[in-house]
């Protein structure tokens, strides 16, 4: 029996950045908010002494427990999907704060091109340049319209950065100066400058100094201890939802976070969402939490799965091209878009590789998005090349020059020698959405509570392989300029396929935004077209990915969605129309 609870103003799935931002803005305005979080309660206290590579990087202590739920995966619509059984193939956020606890803090804005990718491509190259398999489309919003929300998120999270010489316009400078410049960052910057490119320091959510955000939340200066990417911060020196937006929301007295609450579906009458149905996984009891507005702020997979299991919107069908839910899945795929590049080995130089932090490094944007002229290139979108000093840890880092055995005497000798004598630069690239890369419900596999698993189908196109090859070649050129004595360069094979790894945590699509209900699930305030009190927020609303890390863009759209929610609670209806009239 489902136990029905007392109605609240808003109920939210997930306590990561998007759920946290919605909660902060709604509670500050006086609304009562309940967040349903399936993971455990986490406080900064949990992260003290976090410097344990085995526990966090190899046993995935902060990541989603796949024994409860996972996805299935395949690389063609004609294949049977297999479950992603192990965290080494899926590193998804969990617990209070979500992926916002363990992100590295790389805090890029996306490009004006990204939001108007279809029209800008047609304008510059003509319609024929768009590959036949592509489903790329404009987002229904411009960079200029999004810019104030970018600014708001950057100030909340205290981003440390410097002006990008070829970056999009900013209304204000970064709230904090860039982080420390290290010898290896200087080496990358010097080499890229010599090659005529435009290096700049990676904007970072690891603080360059102590900071107080506009909500009065304090974030400490980073000490570069090198335990960031799969770890909560030992020092409270990385912007995360716990220390910022969730704290802000809690102080109002209007927020309740309910942990161990696994949301199974959205309850609705076909026109309005009425609440969320969830299982308290400590007792097995099922509850319904009614609310005036319902916010799906889970990860891409969670949001899409909930829409499909709740039968909201029309599921996408790759054979007919009809339907929208599950469409335009994209991501940074391990063997195609992010963990590829050039590793240089240095005979005469030893680096302090074990020092660092998540957002420490430099990048070039000369090949990002459409910054390069693609007229004579066999792909669209681009790649940013970066060096980052995350801090190398000893279990994961045993890099040896090509040709060295993977184990035994020679391996030991070389892996010890080069631990502090190698540097890696990577080209993180965009990925164009295509007809056969999408999500639906798996016909076979179910989660621990009996809900069907989400099935993810990823098909690489030749464009994506070509882009990756170009990125790797650029890394090789730069690493050579940096003076490496030898290099391991990733080989991107012509027939490379998706490797079933969901490891980067950068995934998008499923409930994409747009200006037209015929081609999008939500408007640019993340409000469902066909259920106006349901907001689906986060990477799930992005019609494609960029070559940049997504968190700042997710944060910006979360602030815009929160504005939409506040408008809806006051006035009802389609907030895109109302706010458009108001701002006109």
């Amino acid at each position: 029996m489902v136990k029905k609870l007392e109605k609240v103003d808003a109920v939210i799935v997930g306590s990561g950045w998007t759920g946290g931002i919605a909660a902060a803005e709604l509670t500050k305005a006086g609304y009562k908010v309940v967040i349903l979080e399936r993971g455990q309660d986490k406080k900064h206290e949990d992260f003290v002494g976090t410097k344990d590579e085995l526990r966090y990087s190899k046993r995935y202590d902060l990541m989603q427990d796949l024994s409860k739920t996972t996805m299935t995966s395949r690389n063609s619509i004609n294949k049977e999907a297999i479950p992603v059984r192990n965290n080494s193939n899926a590193r998804l956020g969990n617990h209070t704060g979500g992926a916002g606890n363990h992100w590295n803090g790389m805090a890029f804005r996306w490009l004006p091109y990204d939001f108007e990718i279809y029209s800008k491509t047609v304008e510059r190259y003509g319609k024929d340049k768009i590959p036949k398999e592509s489903t790329m489309q404009d987002w229904g919003i411009t960079y200029d319209e999004l810019e104030p929300y970018y600014d708001q998120y950057e100030k909340t999270a205290g981003i440390s950065g410097e002006e990008n010489p070829i970056g999009p316009p900013r209304s204000d400078k970064y709230p904090n100066p860039p982080m420390k410049d290290t010898p290896t960052i200087k080496l990358f910057s010097k080499a890229t400058k010599e090659l005529g490119y435009h290096p700049y320091r990676i904007p970072s959510a690891n603080m360059s100094q102590n900071y107080e955000n506009p909500d009065g939340e304090k974030i400490n200066g980073c000490v570069y201890c090198a335990f960031c990417e799969e770890y909560g911060c030992d020092f409270g020196a990385k912007a995360d939802p716990i220390g910022t937006v969730l704290s802000t929301a809690s102080k109002t007295g209007n927020l309740e976070i309910r942990n161990s609450a696994n949301v199974n579906r959205v309850s609705h009458d076909g026109k309005k969402a009425t609440g969320l149905v969830y299982t308290d996984i400590t007792t097995g009891q099922e509850f319904e939490q009614p609310a005036d507005i319902v916010v799906l702020a889970g990860f891409v997979f969670t949001n899409t799965q909930l829409l499909l299991t709740s039968k909201i919107g029309q599921p996408y069908n790759p054979k007919t091209g009809q339907g929208i839910i599950g469409k335009n899945f994209t991501g940074h795929f391990n063997n195609l878009s992010t963990y590829i590049g050039a590793r240089g080995f240095f005979e005469e130089k030893k680096f302090n590789n074990f020092m660092g932090t998540g957002g420490l490094g430099a990048s070039i944007d000369d090949f990002s998005g459409d910054n390069e002229d693609h007229t004579n290139l066999d792909y669209l979108h681009g790649y940013e090349v970066h060096y980052s000093q995350l801090g190398t840890r000893p279990i994961a880092h045993n890099e040896v020059p090509e040709g060295t055995p993977r184990w035994g005497k020679e391996f030991k000798k070389q892996s010890l020698k080069y631990f502090n004598r190698n540097l890696f630069i990577t080209a993180q690239s965009g990925f164009l959405p295509n007809k056969e890369t999408y999500m639906d419900l798996d016909p076979t596999y179910k989660d621990a509570l009996g809900n069907p698993l989400l099935r993810v189908t990823v098909t690489y196109s030749q464009q994506d392989r070509n882009r990756a090859k170009a990125g790797v070649a650029r890394c090789e050129e730069i690493m050579k300029q940096m003076g490496a004595d030898s290099m391991n360069v990733t080989e991107v094979k012509d027939d490379i396929e998706f490797d079933h790894k969901f490891y980067t945590d950068h995934f998008f699509g499923g409930a994409i935004m747009g200006a037209d209900p015929a081609t999008s699930a939500v408007n640019t305030y993340s409000q469902m077209w066909d259920m106006d009190n349901l907001f689906v927020v986060g990477g799930s609303s992005f019609p494609h990915n960029s070559n940049y890390n997504p968190t700042v863009t997710i944060g910006a759209f979360a602030y815009r969605a929160a504005e939409g929610m506040l408008t809806y609670l006051k006035e009802g209806g389609n907030v895109a129309e109302k706010l458009l009239e108001k701002n006109a």
């Binding site: 193939n89 000893p394 184990w407 030991k412 631990f419 790894k501």
Partner: protein
């Protein structure tokens, strides 16, 4: 008589043997040429006590205390543990740079890990169908290799026994008694799927063994490996340092004494 009482523990046994000549002791307890442990009882104690480079070296107090805490939690059959020890030592052998897997405590690390949640794939999705046709397995397809119904404990036992069986078949000797070259040949063939295992590819076992050996060598000492932080010292990794804010802009390499989580946390 007191002197004739059989030793009750590995520690007693080692003490008992202390006065015997090294050669005789090695013969009795099965320690092999090349420094590998074949005896069922003594494991790391023996290799530490009889260091190849210095026959007179005895276990120092700290090492002794650390090792006297060890007992197998997962492996019930001593021979399985001996095969494991020998295999990990080939993956990360002792050399002039420092200790190998056995001295670092890797076999005990793996034993502990297998006895816990990781050994039973407690965080993994374990619902059927598991059906995997091994011949169709695309080795480049990451998760395809993880579709086996075996948990990690099962896989380790099956893999170690397959190693041993293959050694008997080829060389008429147990894996841990085989020569270094023979052991390397066997491990290489497992790595390259040249040996058939039931329900799983041999490389799946090998990769797990390889990964676990590196984990045991380089994880925090709290897990039973990386003894005395020797793994970190070899690698010039300084462990759980509180802060590098004062160093990170400096050009010269910083060689720092490593810090364990116990040092760091104080308890």
């Amino acid at each position: 008589m007191e002197e004739n009482r059989p030793p009750r523990t590995a520690k007693e046994a080692a003490q008992h043997q202390q006065d015997m000549s090294r050669r005789k002791f090695l013969k009795n307890s099965g320690v092999l040429a090349g420094g590998l442990v074949g005896g069922s009882l003594f494991g790391g104690l023996i290799t530490n006590r009889f260091d190849k480079k210095d026959e007179k070296k005895v276990v120092n107090k700290k090492e002794h205390e650390a090792m006297s805490m060890e007992a197998r939690q997962f492996f019930t059959r001593a021979h399985d543990f001996d095969v494991l020890s020998a295999a990990t030592e080939q993956i990360l052998p002792e050399d002039e740079h420092g200790p190998g897997a056995i001295k670092l405590g890797v076999p005990y690390y793996i034993d502990k890990q297998l006895a816990g949640r990781w050994g039973i794939n407690g965080r993994d999705y374990r619902h059927s169908p598991y059906a995997v046709k091994l011949e169709d397995n695309d080795k480049s397809a990451g998760t395809a290799g993880e579709q086996s119904i075996l948990d990690r404990g099962d896989l380790f036992l099956l893999g170690l026994r397959s190693l041993d069986d293959e050694s008997q078949k080829r060389f008429s000797t147990a894996f841990d008694s085989a020569t270094e070259d023979q052991q390397i040949e066997l491990l290489t063939d497992f790595e390259n799927d040249k040996v058939a295992m039931r329900g799983v590819q041999a490389s799946e076992f090998f990769n797990l063994l390889l990964q676990s050996t590196l984990e045991g060598a380089y994880s925090d000492p709290q897990y039973g490996g990386n003894r005395n932080m020797e793994g970190w010292k070899m690698k010039e990794f300084p462990g759980a340092q509180a802060s590098y804010a004062g160093y990170i802009e400096q050009d010269e390499f910083q060689k720092l004494e490593p810090v364990s989580l116990r040092d760091y946390q104080g308890h």
